[in-house]
Assembly symmetry: C2
Homo-oligomer: 206 residues x 2
Amino acid sequence: MAAVKRPSTYHHGNLRAALIGAGVKLLARKGLAAMTLRAVAAQAGVSPAAPYRHFENVAALAAAIAEEGFGRLREAMAAALADPALKRLSPLERTGCGYARFALANPDHLRLMFAGPRQEGPEHAAAAAAGERAFALLVEVIEQGKKDGLVRQVPTPALAVAAWALIHGLSLLLVGDQLEPVRSGAVAPEALVVSSVKLLREGWAA
Amino acid sequence: MAAVKRPSTYHHGNLRAALIGAGVKLLARKGLAAMTLRAVAAQAGVSPAAPYRHFENVAALAAAIAEEGFGRLREAMAAALADPALKRLSPLERTGCGYARFALANPDHLRLMFAGPRQEGPEHAAAAAAGERAFALLVEVIEQGKKDGLVRQVPTPALAVAAWALIHGLSLLLVGDQLEPVRSGAVAPEALVVSSVKLLREGWAA
DNA sequence: TGTACATCAGTGAACGCGCGTTCACTGATGTAC
DNA sequence: TGTACATCAGTGAACGCGCGTTCACTGATGTAC
């Protein structure tokens, strides 16, 4: 018989990662308000004091969970870019769909990521860096679009900010159930994303 | 001597309105997290139990403050629309500037207005109605733009949602200090609003 | 290979705090006569 | 016009709760010899 590796119950092994995972789970199951330090510790199966071995305070833990979210957001955008089901859309539209998919699947995680202004500390810096990496993916898509002749020679930062703002705002409105056509079921969320990015592509000027 | 109307200290007169005003003040001075029922009552100069004469619970009070915010948001858009300093911009751009001005002047109020999903109760319904009135102003601007031949014959709801999402997302990113060009002082917030709405007007397609 | 020991990731009890909410009350107001 | 009284918007003390954080501790781990 193989000597089964019995994980110790006292020493966790990788509590930091487990706490972040527990936070993600809580955000999904109970929402942002329920994601307290004590709840995260309980979800991870440790005492309320345990997280302090890995995080200075609750804000640092939240920042680490936000960082995780930015990583997943980037992955969602990359996955949508490569999604064959979206191949009829332009890369920028596919990226937007990825963003919206993450938002709709993780509404409270998104809220946490963009809750409040920037703060001090290493975890907050790491979260900001992860956010910039996600933004950089959008910038790459735009640059490539220019090379492929799909995108006008408008300054990339201006377009990236506008595209990010559009899809970010749309995601938050969707997540907040604030759009009447979606609430009534008249329009599917993804259709709205596509139509909005298309509008940004073609412009509203007569 | 005229008989001066001495306001009673016991009976407030219009505590409901005073509580909403106190909430607005707290949002501006201390932020969203500090806007508790007890803090609002203290700011209004009454005991913590007094608000219960006017609101069922703290959520109803928050919804009433959000409603006030939507009213102010609509006013800010209408004011920008009529602002001679912005007369070189299109009506849609002016409306966006008004939105952004409200956001930058009242970041935590905006966060409250869009915090969390919809809830039950008369105050929440009133807040939603006020939000729809603000949205209706945008719809009017678009309809007028079509009549004036400035706006393409694209479905109004689609354009209204896209424009709202763009300016909403941009405002939240500005308010969260999440845009590097603004943080570094390279671009002024209003310039970003104008350039983004212009981009939505002209499109990014080559 | 076996033992002593330093390390440090965990425990669990406790703390003070501010929160939302309740309840019996108080006193200013306005109306009926 | 003056008085009795019903109304109801306020008080203030109290409640239970869950929060973030601390502290002395415990016990599993891995290393030195």
